[in-house]
Structures are given as structure tokens and as C-alpha cells.
């Protein structure tokens, strides 16, 4: 831990999270992965949206950007395209990333832009006190789902892979060591990487759904998670009611900002400077 402490803004602590919240564990795993990779802290930018999870960057000693709700990836895209040499990390929540930010998420994945996205999935809107999110499982309770959620939820891993992410993994706040390993690999993937970290929100999701103490919630993670490697040899019956953790997808492809730079290099060689266009512009509409 002492090695990772240097990546925190110690004078910004204590944090605002409730006792027993999983977001601190996830933030810790990210920092340990960064420490292990010995990344230069002057070349890291951490971007977030709005939510309890999105408060994490404020505690980290990098250039940090706390943006508007759902838009972290769009801001991060501007940063990464501007300065491909920077390591850009997005910290987000299930609501921030898959509801209001869902469009930016699939497009960042489609572009395969080199951004590592850490999604803290507590199955609820924590910051606004417990409304259901696109990742609240069907049947569970939220303040806006007082009789149980009737909507289906996203499987983030499948969504990410389908949209084009080149590294996709999942762990939980209980599986902190695995989480750290997966984040490390995500940081090394030169492309769009997604690590979903299940994180307990005892204050709203836990209380509303009578899931017990933070320890009970972590125990639930432990008892219901199956590593994808182990799952390969398990029967469907045995997997009933479980969820998968581990590396879901690792398939590097050409990265967007590198492709743009290469293209621009070619264009630049052909043209010296701006000549001013004199072309006809067709009248378009809508």
C-alpha cells in the first residue's frame, strides 16, 4: 500500500463514501495496478462523470477531470485524441456509463480508442439515493422501482464486446486481487478496455433490498461469482444464478488515435499549409 499511497492526494482524504461502500476498494485496485506498472503520474489523466463513483478522481494525484453526468468518455475522447501519449482512464458508475452515457460508451468502444474504463457497478443510482439503473437486475427494488424493477438489465461485458471493446473483464470488490490484475491488463491493452467492478452500495441498494451488512454483500459476491475459466467446464444447472468474473475478451485491434495520427502524417506530407478552400458547397438540409 505504501507504494500506492503516493498516487493519492492525501490532503483530500477522508473521502465522501459511506462506510462499507465498495467504491474505495475499486479505486484502491486501480491505484495498485498503476503502481505495479510504474506509470508516470504526470502522464495520466483520470476522467469521471457524476455519481458517487465519479468522485474517485478527486482523491488521485494525477490530472483529473470531473465532468458532467454520463459524458466522461466524450471528454476523455477529446483528451486522448489531442494527446495520444497520455494514459487516459475513465472512472464511472452503472448509471453514468450505461444510462445517460450509454451512447458515448458504445461509440468509444466502436472506435477502439485507447481509454481504460473502470465501471463501478453497484446496480443502483447511489448519489441520488437509490433509483434503479439500467444495471439493476429485474425484480430488485429501488426508490423508483418500489414494487420491483420490471426492466431487463444490461450485461455490460456482452454489450462492450458487441460494441467493439478490445479488452473486457469483470471482478468484484470482494475479488480485489483479481480486480487489480484485470485492471493492470486493461491498462496495458492499447485500445478500448472495460473493467466492470461489482461494488456494494449498502446504503441504498443493500438497505432497500435487505441484503444485510457490507460484509454480507461482499459474501454474496464471493458465493455467486464464477471465474470464466472454471465456468467453461461447469454445467448450465451449476451456473444457474451465478455470474461470471475474469477476463471475458482480449483481442487487440488497431487503435483509433494511432490510426488517425498515421493518416494525418500521410496527409501532411502531401500538403504544406492551409490554402483556403474554394469548393462548391451543396445545399443540404435537416
Amino acid at each position: 500500500m505504501s507504494d500506492s499511497l503516493k498516487y493519492f492526494r492525501e490532503n483530500r482524504l477522508p473521502h465522501i463514501w459511506c462506510p462499507g461502500c465498495g467504491h474505495g476498494t475499486v479505486t484502491g485496485a486501480l491505484v495498485r495496478a498503476i503502481a505495479k506498472l510504474k506509470l508516470d503520474k504526470n502522464k495520466i489523466v483520470v476522467v469521471s462523470g457524476i455519481g458517487c463513483s465519479s468522485r474517485a478522481p478527486g482523491y488521485l494525484d494525477f490530472d483529473t477531470l470531473h465532468t458532467t453526468h454520463g459524458r466522461a468518455l466524450a471528454f476523455a475522447t477529446g483528451i486522448k485524441l489531442s494527446r495520444p501519449e497520455l494514459k487516459v482512464i475513465v472512472m464511472t458508475g452503472d448509471g453514468d456509463c450505461t444510462a445517460i452515457g450509454g451512447n458515448h460508451f458504445i461509440h468509444a468502444a466502436r472506435r477502439n480508442i485507447d481509454i481504460t474504463t473502470i465501471l463501478m457497478n453497484n446496480n443502483i443510482y447511489g448519489m441520488t439515493s437509490g433509483q434503479y439503473s439500467p444495471m439493476t437486475p429485474k425484480g430488485m427494488l429501488g426508490t423508483t422501482a418500489p414494487y420491483g424493477n420490471t426492466e431487463r438489465s444490461f450485461d455490460l461485458a456482452k454489450l462492450s464486446i458487441a460494441a467493439g471493446a478490445t479488452y473486457v473483464a469483470r471482478a468484484t470488490a470482494y475479488h480485489a486481487v483479481l480486480l487489480e490484475e484485470l485492471i493492470e491488463k486493461a491498462l496495458l491493452n492499447p485500445g478500448f478496455s472495460v473493467v466492470e467492478a461489482l461494488s456494494q452500495c449498502p446504503t441504498y441498494y443493500g438497505r432497500k433490498n435487505k441484503l444485510g451488512t457490507p460484509v454480507d454483500m461482499m459474501t454474496w459476491f464471493k458465493d455467486h461469482a464464477v471465474n470464466i475459466k472454471a465456468a467453461a467446464v461447469m454445467s448450465p444447472e451449476k451456473l444457474e444464478g451465478k455470474f461470471l468474473i475474469g477476463e471475458m475478451h482480449n483481442s487487440p485491434e488497431p487503435e483509433f488515435t494511432a490510426e488517425y495520427s498515421a493518416l494525418a502524417e500521410g496527409v501532411r506530407r502531401k500538403f504544406d499549409s492551409f490554402q483556403g478552400g474554394l469548393r462548391e458547397c451543396a445545399q443540404n438540409s435537416d
Binding site: 478527486g58 490530472d63 466524450a74 476523455a76 477529446g78 497520455l86 458515448h104 483556403g276 438540409s285
Partner: protein, 377 residues
């Protein structure tokens, strides 16, 4: 060497931006602004810049703020519906003090409205589109050459005061072709961002006591600072304290208030002895100018006041001028937006007559002339 070119307003905006050092554009296609994105896609890679077509206008605004934070000169271009989508992040740029330029080529609204017809319906959206008191500057070119000049100026103001600046044109100005005498690009005055001395002890929102503008560091240079849309103190970290909020918002508003005499820009025609004054901006001012000239030919003492900075409005010069006239006529392609500001500025010095048009057509000079001559509206 100065050069002469025939070009569109949208092209002139792009060329002005490139002259001012534009090296990042993010946008989403929308008529009648699209040519700006198309030209940027073509030209930016040639000059080491970056272009990206984002998934929507919310993302476009976000991306240019991100780019600006890394030290780039960043811009987007849009029209009504897209400008509406940008509003939340424009507020973010105001509060977080990130210089960006937005070209808004107005079309008729609300909603999808009339995509290919001009309007001036966004005078108020440009000023008050996002929630909360916030500083913005809005510039309104009245011809193609001014699209070039005012886009350069927009970048300079954005950098000088760390604010979002809107260049408000419309479908006619954007698509109109005029012969433009372009200056020698090297001679154009361009503001370069001043970096803080060193990362040691850097307080990102510690404002200069005179102008109220803090020095801006770029991400990735070792300053390791925090930027948020929450109210914050001079360290940049969030604060819930009422006194901190009060100081911050007053400082932000003061930046533009103090700068008004410096950035003020307007043009006049035949005002020396005028007894009737037409006040108009953008393409309404083109028709107004021709109406004023026709009226003068008939011996009517009428003049034109044409603001190029519409927010903040050039109050003092108009107020002075209004004391000498008997009537003020305000033609606008909306149902009365800038006129509210004009009425506020003039007070009871002269009666203000509104002339509105919202059918997607420009004013004909005769329509304005008719009112100048005392005809009923």
C-alpha cells in the same frame, strides 16, 4: 500578402479559426453549419490538428473541452437543435473556465423547424441557454469578411478570459458568397495561452486580482490538478461553502463585465445627424444598411447602429447615440429578443419600435424603409 478570395461565411469562419490556431475540431453534422466540419476534416490533418465527428453535439462539446484542457485551440460548429444539446457542457466550460469556440449558424426553430432557412432566434439561447449565472461572449458577424475577423477574435477572447465564445451567424451569412480581402495571415493578432510559471504551488483557480482570470495549465505537463463542474475554491477542489460559491460566481461574471470596453465591437452608418436610428445585427443589418442608404437618398436623417458583440451588448455607445434620436427601429428575424436588451439600454431616451420576421425569409430593404418612412408595421 493580403489576398482576395470569393468565399462563403462558413468557409470564412473556418479560415479565421485556422488563422487563430485552431488545432482541434469535434462536431456533428447539421445544416446549415456542416461545411465548417467538412472543411475542418479536410484541413486539420494538414496542419497537425485533429478532427473528429462525434456521436452527437453533447459529445462534441465535451470533446472540445477535453482537447482545450490539453492545450489545444478547440472549436465546434452547429445550428439550433445541436446548440440546444450543447448547453449543459457550455455551462461546464463557463464554470471550469475552459476556452472554447462554438460557431452557431442559426436556422428557424424551435425543434427541427426550417433547416435551410435563416433566423435570429437564438439571441437568448446563446446568452442564457445553460442554467445559472454564467459568463459567455457572443459575436455576430454581419458579412463574410466579418466571419473571418470575428472568429479570430472569438479565439482570442476565449483565451484571454478563459470562457466559451459563441460566433452567432445564420443560414444566409453562412452560405452567402462574397469577395473577401484576407489579411496577411502572419500579421493577424493571435493570443497564445500563457502557462503558469511552474507546477510547484500551482493553484488552478487563483485569479489575477485585476482581470480575475487565473493562469491555465495543460494536462500532461506535471501540474496534476483537478477540474470539476462543482463549485470550487482556488485549489480547484469542490466546496459547498456559500461564501466560496458567491466569490466564484461574481468573479466569473466580472471577467466579462470588466472586459466589455476592450472587446466591444460595433459599426455605424450615417449616425452624425440622424434622427431615426435602426439597430440591427447579422443578416438583418445587411437589409437595414440598404434601407438606410435608400432613405438617405430621399433626404431622411436615418442612421444604423450594428453591434458585432451582442453579449455583452455595447451599452454605452448606443445609449449616447439614442439621446440624439426621435425613434429607434429594431428589425430582427425573431419575435423580439435583442430588442429587450436595446430597450433596457435606451430606457426612455427614445421610443423603440420592434420589427419582427419569422417566416424564414430575410427582411427586404423596402420593408425596413417603409417603417423608416413612418409606415405602419
Amino acid at each position: 500578402m493580403p489576398s482576395v478570395k470569393l468565399m462563403q461565411g462558413n468557409e470564412a469562419c473556418t479560415l479565421g479559426a485556422l488563422t487563430a490556431g485552431l488545432d482541434f475540431f469535434a462536431g456533428y453534422p447539421i445544416t446549415p453549419s456542416t461545411e465548417i466540419a467538412e472543411l475542418c476534416a479536410e484541413e486539420l490533418p494538414k496542419v497537425g490538428g485533429k478532427f473528429i465527428q462525434m456521436e452527437d453535439e453533447i459529445a462534441s462539446m465535451a470533446a472540445i473541452i477535453g482537447a482545450s484542457l490539453t492545450g489545444r485551440k478547440a472549436m465546434t460548429a452547429t445550428s439550433g437543435p445541436g446548440f440546444s444539446l450543447m448547453q449543459e457542457n457550455i455551462g461546464y466550460a463557463s464554470l471550469a473556465e475552459v476556452p472554447v469556440v462554438i460557431i452557431n449558424v442559426q436556422r428557424v426553430g424551435p425543434s427541427t423547424g426550417m433547416p435551410t432557412s435563416p433566423s435570429q432566434g437564438e439571441v437568448m439561447q446563446a446568452r442564457w441557454g445553460t442554467h445559472g449565472d454564467h459568463p459567455v461572449v457572443v459575436l455576430a458577424p454581419g458579412n463574410v469578411k466579418e466571419c473571418f475577423d470575428l472568429t479570430v477574435k472569438a479565439f482570442n477572447i476565449a483565451e484571454d478570459y478563459r470562457i466559451p465564445v459563441v460566433v452567432l451567424t445564420d443560414e444566409v451569412i453562412g452560405h452567402m458568397r462574397e469577395k473577401v480581402v484576407l489579411p496577411d495571415f502572419e500579421t493577424v493578432k493571435v493570443t497564445r495561452r500563457k502557462a503558469p510559471a511552474s507546477p510547484g504551488g500551482y493553484k488552478p483557480y487563483e485569479a489575477d486580482p485585476d482581470g480575475g482570470v487565473p493562469l491555465m495549465a495543460s494536462f500532461g505537463q506535471g501540474y496534476r490538478y483537478h477540474v470539476t463542474g462543482l463549485f470550487h475554491d482556488e485549489t480547484g477542489f469542490p466546496s459547498n461553502r456559500g461564501d466560496v460559491a458567491d466569490v466564484l460566481i461574481r468573479r466569473l461574471m466580472k471577467k466579462v463585465e470588466n472586459a466589455e470596453p476592450l472587446i466591444r465591437d460595433y459599426a455605424t452608418e450615417s449616425i452624425e445627424d440622424c434622427e431615426i436610428l435602426v439597430v440591427a445585427f447579422g443578416s438583418s443589418a445587411m437589409s437595414s444598411l440598404s434601407a438606410v442608404r435608400q432613405a438617405r437618398a430621399k433626404g431622411i436623417k436615418v442612421g444604423l447602429f450594428r453591434p458585432k458583440t451582442i453579449w455583452p451588448f455595447p451599452e454605452e455607445p448606443l445609449r449616447e447615440l439614442s439621446s440624439q434620436v426621435k425613434r429607434v427601429i429594431v428589425p430582427e428575424m425573431n419575435l423580439g429578443q435583442l430588442v429587450l436588451e436595446i430597450e433596457r439600454v435606451i430606457g426612455c431616451r427614445a421610443p423603440v419600435e420592434r420589427l419582427s420576421k419569422v417566416n424564414g425569409e430575410l427582411f427586404k430593404p423596402e420593408e425596413i424603409l417603409f417603417v423608416i418612412m413612418g409606415g405602419e408595421k
